[in-house]
Every structure is written in C-alpha cells, then in structure tokens.
C-alpha cells in the first residue's frame, strides 16, 4: 500500500511564471547588431560561403557580374551602350552582394545572440582555484582547468565549485542561481541519489564538501551549452541535410536551365534578324546576356531559404537554451517535434510533488470537530507541506491548538514507524499510514473500529492517500490526502493529443489511485505500480511500433530509460548518471518542460518548411517578371502580366525583392513561425494559405511596386 514512505522526490517549484523565467541570462545585447553587420561582411570569405551551396552560387555570380561591370563585352560584344551596360551590371553586382550580406547578417544575428548567452555563461566559469585532494590526503591548489575526471576536490563555504561532480562527503547548501536563475539555495548531500550532484560554476554557501569530479575540462554541461548556443559545434540535423540536398538540386536544375538559354535564344535571334529586324535580334541577344542570365539564375534559385537555413537552426538551439534547457545536439531538439509518446512520471510532473489534505473522515462514532482537533494536534510540529495543509484544513474546520506547544514534544516521521505526531504529558497523538496507526493502537490496548477500513477504501478509490489519526489507543478518523494535478496540465495534454502526441503516466501508486489521477489529468494511458524496469519496457514497446518517445527522469535507475528514449530530459537536480544518459538537461528541474520542448521542435520544423515553400512559390512571380521582358523581342511581351517597364527594370526589381525578402524574413527565421496546437490537416491548410499561396502572390505585388518606384525607363 502507499503511505508516507512513498515520499515525494525533492522537487523545487520554480519561482515565477514560465514566461518570466524565459529570459536570456543577463547578457550584453547592446552592440549585437553592429557586430552582426561587421560579421556579415567578414563572412564573404569564400571558404565560409562554400559551405552554403545556394549562396556560394550567388557569390560566384557576383564575381562574374563584377568583371562584367568593368567590361560589359567580356564574353561577347553586346549591341548596346557600354556605359549603360556598365551601370546595369554594377547595379546587379551591388544587389547580389547585398543578397549574400543579408543572408550572412541573419546567421550573424542568430550566432550573436547565442554568443551573448554563452558569454554570460562563460563568466560563471572563469578559472577558479580548486583544492585538489592528493592521494596522500594533502590538499593542493590548482587551476580548475587542470582538473581531470576522477579527481577529488575539497570545496569550502564561499568557494566556486570548480567543475561538474558528485558529492562524496559533507552537506552544504549551494547557490545555483548562475545557471538556473533560481535564487533559493539548494541543499546538497552525498548518497541521496538526487541531490548529490553539483555543477561547475555554482557557489557553495555553507559548510564543506568533498567532490569527485565527473567531467574533464571543456566537457562539462556549461561547456557543452556554450558550444551549442555559439553554433561552434553545430552539425546539421537530418532534416537540414535532406533540405540541403533539395536546395542543391533546385540550384543545379536552374543552373542547367539558365546555362542553356543563351544558345537557344541565339538560335531564335538569328531567325529574328532575317524574319523581323536586326534590332529585335540584338534586343533578344541582350536579354540573354551573361549578366542577365546570372540575375535570372539568382532570382530562381531558392536564396530565401538557402540564406536563412542556418539562422533558423541556430535560433532553434537558442530558443531551447532560453528555456534553460541544455541540449547535447540539434538532432535531439529536432526529434522533439517528431515525438509520438511522452512518458511522464506522476509525481512532480503531473501532480504537484506534495499531497494536500482535502477532507477529514471521522470513524468510531467521533464527530468531525474531534477529528479536526486531533489531526491539528498531531500536525503542529509537522513542517512538511502535507502537515501544513492538514493544519490549514483543521483550522478552516474551526479547530484551535488546545495546548501550549512549548510543553509538548514533536515526534518526527521515520521510515520505520511510518508515523509522526505529538507527545503531551498524558497524551500520545499520532498520524500516519493506516496500518501503522492500527498497530500503534493495538499496542496501546485499543481496538480497531470496522469503519476504519471503509474510510480507507473510500479514500483509495478516490485516488487519495489515507492517513489515520489517533489519540492514545483511540482511532478518531482518516485524513484524505489528495494528489493535486498541476493547474493547466489537462489543457496542455488536450493540445498534445490534437497534435498527435500520446501521454503515458507512470506511477508507483496502485491501479485505483493511478486511474483516478490519470482521469483527472487527462493522460491517455497510465502504468500503475511501475518499477524503473517498467519505464524502459514501456519505451521499448512504443518504439517497436515505430514511435518516438520522450521522457524525463532524475534518478540513477532512470538512466537506462533516458538513454533508450529518443528524447531524454534529465533534471539538473538529478544524478550524474541520469544527466549523462539523457540528451537534454533541464537546469530548472521542471519536468513539464518536456511539453514546451515538443513545441519548440515542431516550431523549428514548421519554420523551415514554411520558408522553403515560400521560397519555391516565389519562383512563379519571378519567372513572370523576367522571362517575358527579356524575351519581349520574341513577341511574348503580352505575358508581362505585371506590366513591368522594361527588361532592366524587371531584372533589378526581381533582384531587389529577392535580396530584401531575406532581410524581411530574418525576424521570422529567428523567432520561428508562431506555433498553434492544431491537427496536421489544419496546420497544413493554414500554412499553405500563408506561405504557399502568399508566396505566389506576395512577390507579384512587391516586384510591381519596386518596378513603379525604380527610376528606370
């Protein structure tokens, strides 16, 4: 049976609302944009550009148009005014250059934000002096960077903890605000499985600890987080790789298409020179000049998504970091979007860690007031949240403390007795697990009323934990301790269900209790009386059906399950083993964050898809702007549905649009497309309307506007 020995895991309620915690650590954001502007020119280095296939093609094109600005007749004599050609080619070169610069700017801003965040983190990790305990037992002061995994260090009050490690001796309170933003210090002690791990960069406030170092320098959590938010260790995620392939293929296709236009127009031009006029032939040849072909190529290849792709990825990692979660790879963040099943612990995740008193049930013919009075007396010295909630409920029922607490003595809860209470001179008042109280009463010569079992059954059926109260050898009643489902969780599970994510609750409670909580929280399924082995079993069976599973955990016995899950989120308060097995660590130790991570993962994928669709859809308008105007001499001018002024004006307008759209979409790329918890069909309909249909229409309007504004004839 469940009783107070199923004590809640140490769980910290994070202060403030989620939004107020979602902040970038105190970082210097000033000068971010100046630095990004500088960076975006530095990134014109071909060795950097070559890593982005779409933009590299633009880069090479810019080089060629630059040559053509100096000599427009470099690849063949055009029958046009040389100076005018120079001006046009110069303009094209300029716009192409800025297309690349804008793309670089997007990446630089994303990186800059990450760097700023990393700098703030790094400040906490400046070299500290570590007191290394040598095998001889003496202490040597060395730099924290010289510490290796397995070293023992001594930390005294006021010291910075030099690296990630596990406490092997001592108890002390640690200020972890540097990484979690949580001001209340946390008590750390060895052997407690949960609270024995410490993070480098946090400060010990009291007492003295001996810590075994568990990470080599540069391998700790903070180091990993820095590397990730800075984008230094960024490797492409599987989705990004597939998208890169598509972009490369599209670029290659348009390269082939455009490269074959000049010979084809050459053929038509030689026909026109005899059929209509030399002028028409010359116009057509000019329309297929190298500079214009490069412009057409750049307009058609997917520069919008090509330029913003890496910024989207970096910004996604950054969003995760802003949630105070460390991800070990971008792959894990992306996998969050694909999650089919969430495996959640009941305690601390679905319910508040503490049960609260909800009702007193009198037995043995006692009145409600008597039970409240006894319960209050038994709980006066109980400082646990349960105890305080009993006091509060009793006081609401009109009971008052009937003795002077100074004369009484508190009896602490112990795992052996499974009771706590108060001793007065003549009275022993106790509350505790029902069978423990039963035993206590019998030992004092009292008898157990049959109504006790009824009350016990009733509370269990409601999903609560029954506590019996007694005074001397007389049982007065049962306290109904209720699990409180976290507020707002039911709605979030509903959202998840709409997005196609199933939730499974794991609990050590019995079936009845579990099913009541499951119902109340709105989870899809639950496993009662679960052992740590069950956890991994659930994950395996879900994965066998092809599903992706996410879970949270903190204990050492969670480690195998965390490693087995596709997304394992470990609590920062958890053990080192758990943190190492997981692919994400939550610094706030808030397990519900897993739900936010699903949203972030989906948002990342949606942003990529939306911009890809937009970029591809834009091609229609660009085609209709450029092709009819540059081939106007072939008599297809009527296709110029936008009524653009001239070929030159059309080309320049399309290129300006092409460059500006990157700039315009940077905020979207960095913030991500707003996510709504809708079904796939609703999401597709909505996004196709905005980014697909919008992507077809928007450039028509924008290019026409630019054409009207441009002073070209």
């Amino acid at each position: 049976m469940t009783s107070m020995n199923d004590s809640p895991k140490p769980f910290r309620v994070p202060s403030g609302t989620r939004d107020s915690r979602r902040h970038t650590p105190k970082v210097e954001m000033k000068g971010l944009y100046q630095r990004a502007v500088k960076e975006s020119f530095v990134k014109l280095d071909p060795r950097i550009q070559v890593r982005n296939p779409v933009m590299f093609v633009v880069w090479v094109g810019t080089l060629v148009t630059l040559l053509l600005t100096f000599d427009p007749n470099l690849f063949g004599t055009l029958q046009a005014d040389v100076n005018q050609q120079r001006l046009l080619n110069g303009l094209i070169t300029f716009i192409l250059l800025f297309t690349i610069v804008f793309a670089n700017f997007a990446e630089s801003v994303a990186e800059g934000r990450g760097k700023a965040q990393a700098d703030a983190l790094r400040a906490t990790r400046s070299d500290t002096i570590a007191k290394k305990i040598l095998p001889t037992g003496s202490v040597q002061e060395i730099s924290s960077t010289e510490l290796r995994r397995g070293d023992l260090v001594k930390v005294v009050a006021g010291d910075m903890i030099p690296a990630d490690g596990e406490i092997i001796a001592g108890i002390g309170s640690v200020d972890e605000s540097a990484i979690t933003g949580e001001s209340a210090p946390v008590l750390k002690q060895p052997g407690t499985d949960i609270m024995s791990s410490v993070t480098g960069g946090t400060r010990l406030l009291s007492d003295e600890l001996t810590v075994r170092i568990t990470a080599d320098p540069g391998q700790g959590f903070i180091d990993r987080m820095i590397a990730l938010v800075e984008g230094a260790e960024r490797t492409k995620t599987p989705n990004e790789i597939a998208l890169t392939v598509l972009l490369a293929v599209l670029t290659l296709v348009f390269l082939i298409v455009v490269a074959n236009i000049p010979p084809i127009t050459g053929y038509v031009a030689s026909f026109l020179s005899t059929a209509t006029s030399e002028q028409a032939a010359a116009d057509l040849r000019n329309g297929a000049s190298v500079a214009i072909m490069i412009s057409l190529l750049v307009a058609l290849i997917p520069t919008t998504i090509g330029g913003l792709l890496s910024a989207i990825g970096i910004a996604g990692m950054d969003r995760v970091a802003q949630f105070n979660v460390i991800a070990t790879s971008g792959r894990a963040v992306e996998a969050c979007g694909d999650i089919n099943t969430l495996v959640l612990d009941k305690t601390g995740t679905i319910t508040l860690g503490n049960r609260l008193a909800a009702e007193f049930i009198p037995v043995n013919g006692h009145g409600m007031e008597d039970v409240a009075q006894v319960a209050l007396d038994a709980s006066v010295f109980d400082e646990t949240p349960e105890g305080r909630s009993i006091v509060a409920l009793a006081e609401r029922s009109g009971a008052k403390v009937s003795f002077d607490p100074k004369l009484a003595e508190g009896v602490e809860f112990s795992a052996r007795t499974r009771m706590s209470g108060t001793d007065l001179d003549s009275k022993e008042i106790r509350k505790g697990a029902v069978d423990a109280i039963r035993g206590f009463v019998r030992s004092r010569g009292g008898h157990v009323p049959p109504t006790l079992d009824e009350a016990y059954e009733r509370v269990s059926k409601l999903g609560g934990t029954p506590l019996a109260v007694c005074q001397n050898n007389e049982i007065y009643g049962v306290i109904y301790l209720k699990d409180i489902v976290k507020p707002g969780l039911k709605e979030r599970f509903d959202q998840l269900r709409r997005m196609g994510v199933r939730t499974i609750m794991l609990t050590g409670d019995n079936r009845i209790t579990a099913s009541v909580i499951a119902q109340e929280a709105g989870v899809d399924d639950f496993i009662a009386e679960a052992t740590p082995e069950d956890k991994i079993e659930v994950i395996r069976s879900e994965q066998a059906q092809g599903k992706l599973v996410a879970m949270t955990g903190d204990g050492t016995n969670d480690a195998p399950a965390l490693a087995q899950a596709n997304v394992g989120l470990a609590m920062n308060s958890g053990t080192q083993a758990a943190k190492e097995a997981a692919n994400m660590v939550d610094l706030d130790s808030d397990p519900t964050k897993l739900i936010d991570l699903v949203t972030i993962g989906k948002q990342l994928l949606i942003t990529r898809g939306a911009l890809t669709t937009f970029s591809v859809a834009n091609d229609i308008a660009k085609y209709f702007a450029i092709i009819p105007t540059i081939f106007a001499a072939a008599g297809i001018g009527a296709l110029n549905v936008m009524g653009l002024k001239s070929a030159n004006s059309a080309i320049i307008s399309a290129l300006i649009y092409n460059a500006l759209i990157i700039l315009v979409l940077i905020p979207l790329a960095l913030k991500g497309v707003q996510f709504r918890p809708l079904t796939a069909d609703q999401l597709l309909r909505r996004n196709i309307l905005i980014y697909g249909v919008g992507g077809v229409i928007a450039p028509f309007i924008a290019i026409k506007l630019i054409d009207v504004i441009l002073p070209f004839s």
């Binding site: 599987p238 598509l246 293929v249 127009t265 026909f271 948002q603 890809t612 072939a634």
Partner: protein, 582 residues
C-alpha cells in the same frame, strides 16, 4: 463541334470506367492471387522458370532488381541490333531490304529497348518483316513488361513489401496482362479491317491508268498494332503510324487504340490503391494527372477547332478547324485527343502530324513530355507520380511540424536525393543540354525545316520525346538516314541524321535507366523503413488539400524549369500567329 466534344468525353468516360476492373485485375496478378488464366499459364511459367533457372520465389533488393533489368536489356539489345543488321540474310524479307546504316540500327535498337520507339526510319522501306516482328514486335512486349515490372516493384516498395523478383514480374506482366489482351485485341482489329499477312506488298494497277501499277505496303500489322498501343510503345509498322489506314482504319479502331494506350497507366494507380489498401487515395492521386490531361485536351482541341487565322482569312471564313496534317476520318477532335493522350501516356503513336498542330497543341504535347506524369509511361509514369508526391510531402510536410512521412515512412536524405534526382534533374540534363547544342548549330547538326520558334519546338520536342521515352516526333528535322535501298542505290548518308541518332540515344538511355535505377532504390529504401503509426499530427496524403498541393508542386517544379523554352517555342509562335505574321 458538339459531336467532337462528345467523342472526347465518351473516350475519357470509358477510360475511367475500366480503371477499377483492370486495376483490380493487375493487383491480383502481381499479388500472385488466383486469376482466370492460371490453369493454362502456370505450367507454361514453370517450364520457363526451369528453363532459365530462375528461383521464382526469391525477392530482390532494389539494386539487384535494377541490375537484372540492365542485364536483360543489354542481352535483348544485342539481339535486336543483330537482327536488324543481318536482316538481308534472314527470312521474311519479301522486298529484299539490305541492312540500314549502323547508326539507324543502333538508334532503333535503343529506342525499342527503352520502350520509346522513336523512329528515324520508315517501316516499309527500312526493315524486313523479320526485323519488325522478331526484333521490334518482341521488344514491344518485353520493354513494356519491364516498365510495368518497375511500376509494380515501386508500388510494392512504397507500401512496405519486398520488391519482388524482376524475372517473375516480367513474365507475369507478359503472360497475364500484355499477351492475353493483345491476342483478343489483335483479333478485334483484324475484324475491324487491319491486315495481318506475311505476303509482300500488293502490286495493283492504279485507278487512273491501269497500265501503271502501284505497290501497296502491307504485312503482319494487326498483332503489331495492338501491343504498340497497349504497351505504350508507339512504333508504327508504317512510317505514318496510326494515321495509316491499315494501322488505324476507322473510328472504332481509333477508340480501341486510345483506350488501350491509357488503360495500363490509369489502372496502375488503382492497383496502387489495392496494394496500399487505400482506394480513396488512389482516386485522389488519379485526379492529379486526370485534371492536367483534361486541361491539355481542352487547350489543344480549342486550338484545332478554331483553326489557323491566317488560313481562315485565305478561305474567307471566321472559323474552320485546322485539318492540315490530319486524317479527315478522325477530324479535329479525335486528332487533338489522340495527340494529347499519346504524349501524355508516353505511347508516341500518332494519328496526325504534331508538326501541323496549332501552337496550343505544341504547348500541350511538349508540356506532357516535360511532366511525364500525366498518367505517364507504362509503370514508370505511376512511379514518377508517386515520386512527385514524395517531393510534395517533403517540401510542404515540414509545415505540420514533423519530419515528413509518406505512408508512415520518413522522407530523409536518401529519399530526397533519389526523388529529386529523378524528377528534377534527369529531364533538364537529357533535354536542354543536347537541345541547346543542336540549336547552337542549326544547320550543321539539327537540319531544321521550319526556322524560328517552330524549329525550336521541333528540336526540343525530339529530345523531350526521347528523354520521356515517348517516341512521337514533331518531325520536320533532318533526323533520318536514307533508306537502305536508296543507299544501295548510291545515296549519301546524312551528317544531321548521324547527330540525331546518336544524341537522342543519350537522351533515351538517360531518360530510361537512370530513373529506373533511382525508382527502384527509392522503393527499396522506403520498404526498409520502420513505419510510424499515423496520428492526428501526421500529414495525411489522402486528402483533397494535399492533392491540390501536389498539383501545385508538380506545376512549379516539373513545368517551370521548362518555361523559358516553352516561352520561346510554342508561346512565341502563338503570339506570332495571333499577330498574323508567317
């Protein structure tokens, strides 16, 4: 006018009506369920398997399947080339035709093993009956069956089954699908007036002057004709193909021809529905090419119905159908319908001269060839269509916030490489690059008869037809060597014909084997994936919305890359005619 449209609508209705029946039958055949022909054919098949030593039950991987196709095709190619080159030493050569030039023979060989049947020769004067029947007629079965096998293997892979065994699929495609229908069809055609004889040309006195006699070419046409259409081969027995009164004598044979051309590629989509156990999706996918097909038919038919304004002005009428290059017995409607269907389905038989169509027709037929999925080739068309679906899933699927999945299988790098390679890259490479080279040297290489926009269409059409394995021609190019008899009589070979024979071989091979290999590897990698169960968060591909999205993706990715050549070809020509020049 009304009559013409009724003909068109009726033909399309018949096609839609037979789809479920034929589709279900093919599903039975390739799921190895019992069919009506089993008692006769099972012993035959067992004998064949034991003869060639195929272990019938052994499934192949994508790569093995592709290799089997390649080996099989190389062997058949050598065989057909030898038959043509040695036709003068072989029987059934009543007119004693010597071997054609090596390049003509090579081009014909490759053209027939790739199910294209692009003909740079005239059947009557270049080839003996032996070459036509043993060389070409035999390949019309095997190349069509190869395409069908690829389509089926692709469907199997997509729906998570092993790909199957190429040799088994090839034999079943011939014995259960192509051969039975061809036997029945040929008999019907004979009844409708198509000749089937081994006798040489008939020598008859002309009506005008009985003293002068005339040779009328004939031969074993009927059996050749039905597989030409059913297998989407399209290589006519006679030079003018289905316009010839012996190949396609009347309205009934024309209807049989049209229905047999489109029956397999349409029904195969239904077969997919049975394999995937999702008939609804099959019909939605079916609607994609159907809508495009109807659109092209309307565009073409309107152009032909209104006729050429320049000609009409000469005739002094407002409107008269364009009958230039058409058989009067088919008229504008059936000619327009035939032209669109034959290019849509990669058959390539023609009952009118595509060169003489109004630019609307040029636009539709070229676009059909560029897209390749307007039902498309035997087996491959359906596979291409699903490759487009995969691409559409990949591009738009991210927008629902999950890694894109098709039928529960994740679309990842490998699938994107194969699908985009297949759909987006092969075609421009095989059409635009040789096309641009030919147009850069219009006199030396291309030998264009109609310079200008129309000439551009002719050149691009020839390569598009080769790359899409269609085989029809816009014609008007110097692509034929003189006939063997003429060469024996001292005619000189042509340099442009040599260029065309060899350069189209490149497009033929690139357009056939690269996509087949890619399709099979794609199917293989899809089959090996662990399917993910569908949830409300999964992008559903069997909805009207997604079907619409796919049409958009097809038009943007498949057609826009050819917009510049369409603009300078048929579109410019249309404006030119509208302005009244030329």
């Amino acid at each position: 006018m009304l009559q013409g449209w009724i003909q068109i609508v009726l033909t399309l209705l018949i096609l839609v009506a037979i789809t479920p029946f034929f589709g279900r039958y093919m599903a039975r055949v390739f799921q190895e369920q019992r069919t009506i022909l089993d008692p006769i054919l099972n012993p035959v098949e067992r004998f064949l398997y034991s003869l060639v030593g195929v272990r019938a039950k052994e499934d192949m991987t994508g790569w093995q399947y592709a290799r089997a196709i390649l080996y099989c095709n190389v062997v058949m190619g050598v065989l057909i080339f030898s038959i043509i080159m040695f036709q003068q030493f072989l029987p059934l050569n009543p007119t004693g035709i010597p071997a054609p030039t090596w390049d003509t023979a090579l081009h014909t060989t490759i053209s027939f093993i790739t199910n294209t049947n692009q003909q740079h020769y005239s059947g009557e004067t270049y080839l003996s009956y032996a070459s036509q029947m043993w060389g070409l007629g035999y390949h019309m079965f095997t190349s069509a069956a190869t395409g069908l096998a690829v389509g089926i293997a692709f469907i199997r892979g997509l729906t998570g089954r092993p790909l199957g065994n190429f040799y088994v699929d090839l034999i079943r495609a011939i014995t259960r699908v192509l051969l039975p229908i061809s036997i029945v069809g040929a008999i019907v055609l004979i009844a409708a007036g198509v000749p089937e004889t081994l006798a040489g040309p008939a020598i008859v006195p002309t009506l005008e002057d009985p003293a002068i006699s005339q040779a009328i070419a004939r031969g074993p046409v009927a059996h050749f004709e039905i597989i030409k259409n059913l297998g989407e081969n399209g290589g006519g027995f006679f030079a003018i193909n289905s316009a010839h009164p012996f190949e396609n004598p009347n309205g009934l044979t024309n209807l049989i021809t049209l229905v047999s051309i489109l029956s397999i590629p349409t029904s195969l989509i239904y077969t997919y529905g049975i394999f995937a156990n999702n008939i609804k999706q099959a019909w939605l996918v079916y609607s994609i090419p159907f809508v495009i097909l109807v659109g092209f038919i309307i565009i073409t038919a309107i152009g032909e119905y209104n006729g050429n304004p320049a000609v009409n002005a000469l005739l002094g009428v407002d409107q008269a159908p364009n009958l230039e290059g058409k058989e009067v017995r088919f008229g504008w409607a059936q000619s327009a319908l035939f032209a669109v269907i034959t290019t849509a389905s990669m058959c390539g038989a023609v009952n009118s001269l595509h060169d003489s169509f109004m630019p609307n027709g040029g636009f539709s037929t070229l676009s059909n060839l560029f897209l390749q999925i307007v039902f498309g080739g035997q087996g491959t068309g359906t596979a291409y269509l699903f490759a487009y679906l995969i691409l559409a899933v990949f591009i738009t699927g991210l927008m629902v916030g999950r890694t894109p999945e098709f039928l529960g299988r994740k679309i990842e790098k490998r699938e994107v490489v194969l699908a985009s390679f297949l759909i987006l890259l092969v075609h421009p490479i095989a059409i635009l690059i040789p096309g641009a080279i030919a147009l850069a040297f219009p006199d030396q290489l291309a030998g264009i008869s109609n310079p200008g926009f129309h000439g551009l269409s002719q050149v691009i059409y020839e390569y598009a037809s080769a790359a899409a394995n269609n085989g029809s021609g816009f014609e008007g190019l110097g692509d034929s060597q003189p006939s063997p008899i003429a060469i024996a009589g001292g005619a000189t070979t042509s340099a442009t014909a040599l260029w065309w024979n060899l350069s189209t071989c490149f497009s033929l091979l690139a357009g056939r084997y690269v996509p087949i290999a890619a399709l099979l590897l794609l199917a293989d990698s899809m089959a090996r994936k662990q399917p993910v169960p569908a949830t409300t968060g999964t992008l559903r591909t069997d909805t009207g919305l997604f079907t619409g999205v796919t049409i958009g993706v097809i038009l943007i990715l498949g057609a826009l890359e050819f917009f510049p050549v369409l603009a300078l070809g048929p579109i410019a020509e249309a404006f030119q005619i509208a302005r009244g020049i030329g």
